[in-house]
Symmetry: C2
Subunit: 353 residues, 2 copies
């Protein structure tokens, strides 16, 4: 599409899928049962909409080696330090402004989500771009299929525009991750979407929104030239660490949500692997070499080795050459707690860095 | 002791403690939380009784590399193929007969048992040698401290000799591994010992016993010269595969059991690790690098890596560089079943060989 840019947000601390992911090998560089890494698939999806020269990665200095390996020749913005999505969106907007002006539209997508239906993605984004060109800051909302408590929700308001299956609504309110009861309400109401963390906006509109809702950040954008190394360092030293949702989207008036035509999964923990990988006849997800006797509903991943389990249920079992992780599926989001303990121990650096 | 030889039985298929043990790296070469391997500790124990030149290992050709590495300069008998303990005891008896005659006494011990109390071991064996010199085939019986269903039992009969704490009895009967109810009976009766698989006998008596109770094997001993490679191969090709317990001990009349002064553990499965390694405050056995959050009563072994577990109970979790095993403690003896499945799969050879 004309004058459209894609910003692929590829930070990530490699925590939630540890030990498969590491600080130096975060989630977007995992394959999760596929032939390509999540970030490669994200890039392919995005390139169905924008030419390669309009694809811009934004990541941290720490991952430079990965981008040299996987995306030589691509444009990559290296943040000196991760400062959450508001800073990343601002950095991206300034870079696109410089090369394509204020009318350019930017699609911001996380690098590490799973979307199978590339065509649905393409159609949804094309429509979102159209809405963005009308002056909206557009979020892409996923139609929920379960009362998920792990995602934020977007409550829609009146229709802005419909076009075939495609629908855009004003946003009534962003909602934090709900408890189970509330998640069921959201699901049943039919007016709620999952917040996918994908956005579409023009350079002008997002910069205006920063000016209005994050004047501190905007002042830094005025003060520093982010194409200069020293200035970039200063900007990232001073800028507030906040998500674009908190900093801008929840405050702005001109917010729209476009209903996604595609299914989506952010693979936020091992327990969601069964939604992105086929299960065997006993409900086990098996990636890599494994022998499973009498085990049911397990998530089993072997990264270059063998997992052998016997009479084990509802468990996550991960093998890498240097680490074995065992955690009940229902506790899979607590991998971070475990990792926190690992990080405390001197001599264990190689297990997480 | 004078004219005493030690035969250290060091075959082993590396099955029960897989993946720590492998076909080429069986249990006796594991350290199991100690600084030395089980076979090194066994050898040290034995050398408190016999000079090094009277120590003879008996193992299979497959493990030649291990003995070259661990015991250079030691005498090692290599069986062309493992044929259980009767053949090994016969081979050993013929070798000792050749170097020291019919009056020599042989202590036969498995290489892979754990005995902490070296002094108790020494005293017990010295007494057993004395009993053997009276013409008995002596077994060493362990005083049971629990109704163990994983061991065979020896029922004692009248006293042969007492000397301080040391006692030798005639044997009334050998009993197979009992069910739980029977094991409780055995424990309560006070007349039962665990069958440790350690024996003491003179060359003359054991050969006489073979002649009487295993005439087929004895005929092969007459036919072949086991010091000659071709004959050894023929002997092992033809000899019956049977344990010394079944083949001789359960049939012979002149059997004695000497009550051991020491505790003993054969480490027959991962579930017994808590009897040979100290547990942490939550009942976990931890060998190697591990982080355990909210887990109780687990057996955790990391062989060159990290095991991280969370909210997991009563589980065996083993990490090696190439394999992760997860199995409930109560099922730990079924590692063999799991291994059988692994062996069926083409391309998985490196995981068990």
């Amino acid at each position: 599409m004309k004058n459209l840019f894609a910003g692929i947000m590829a930070g990530g601390k490699g925590e939630r899928l540890w030990p498969l992911s590491r600080e130096s090998h975060p989630k977007q560089f995992l394959k999760i049962g596929r032939k390509k890494t999540l970030i490669e698939l994200t890039t392919e999806r995005v390139e169905s909409l924008v030419p390669r020269e309009n694809v811009i990665f934004i990541t941290t200095e720490k991952l430079k080696h990965k981008f040299l390996e996987y995306f030589p020749g691509y444009r990559v913005l290296f943040e000196p330090v991760g400062k959450n999505t508001a800073a990343a969106c601002a950095f991206m907007a300034k870079v696109v402004q410089k090369v394509a002006g204020n009318d350019a539209v930017i699609l911001m997508v996380p690098a590490d989500h799973v979307i199978i239906d590339v065509d649905g993605f393409k159609k949804t984004v094309e429509f979102a771009v159209k809405i963005a060109r009308r002056g909206y800051l557009v979020t892409i909302g996923i139609v929920p299929d379960r009362p998920e408590t792990g995602y934020g929700y977007i409550e829609r308001d009146g229709v802005i525009e419909e076009w075939g299956d495609l629908k855009a609504f004003k946003v009534k309110k962003f909602h934090e991750k709900p408890d189970r009861e509330r998640a069921v309400e959201y699901l049943n109401s039919g007016n709620f979407y999952w917040n996918s963390g994908m956005f579409v906006w023009s350079v002008r509109d997002i910069l205006d929104a920063f000016k209005k809702h994050m004047p501190g950040l905007y002042a830094l954008l005025e003060k520093y030239d982010l194409t200069r190394g020293e200035d970039l360092l200063a900007f990232y030293g001073e800028v507030e660490e906040i998500s674009i949702d908190y900093g801008v989207m929840e405050k702005a008036e001109n917010i729209a949500v476009v209903e996604a035509l595609f299914d989506w999964e952010d693979v936020g923990s091992f327990s969601s692997f069964d939604r992105v990988v086929d299960t065997d006849e006993n409900g086990n997800v098996v990636i890599g070499d494994a022998v499973v006797l009498g085990g049911k509903n397990n998530i089993i991943v072997s990264d270059g080795g063998l997992v052998a389990i016997y009479n084990v249920q509802n468990m996550v079992v991960i093998h890498t050459g240097d680490v074995t992780l065992v955690i009940p599926r229902d506790d899979a989001q607590d991998v971070k707690k475990l990792l926190k303990e690992v990080r405390k121990i001197e001599g264990f650096e190689s297990y997480w860095k």
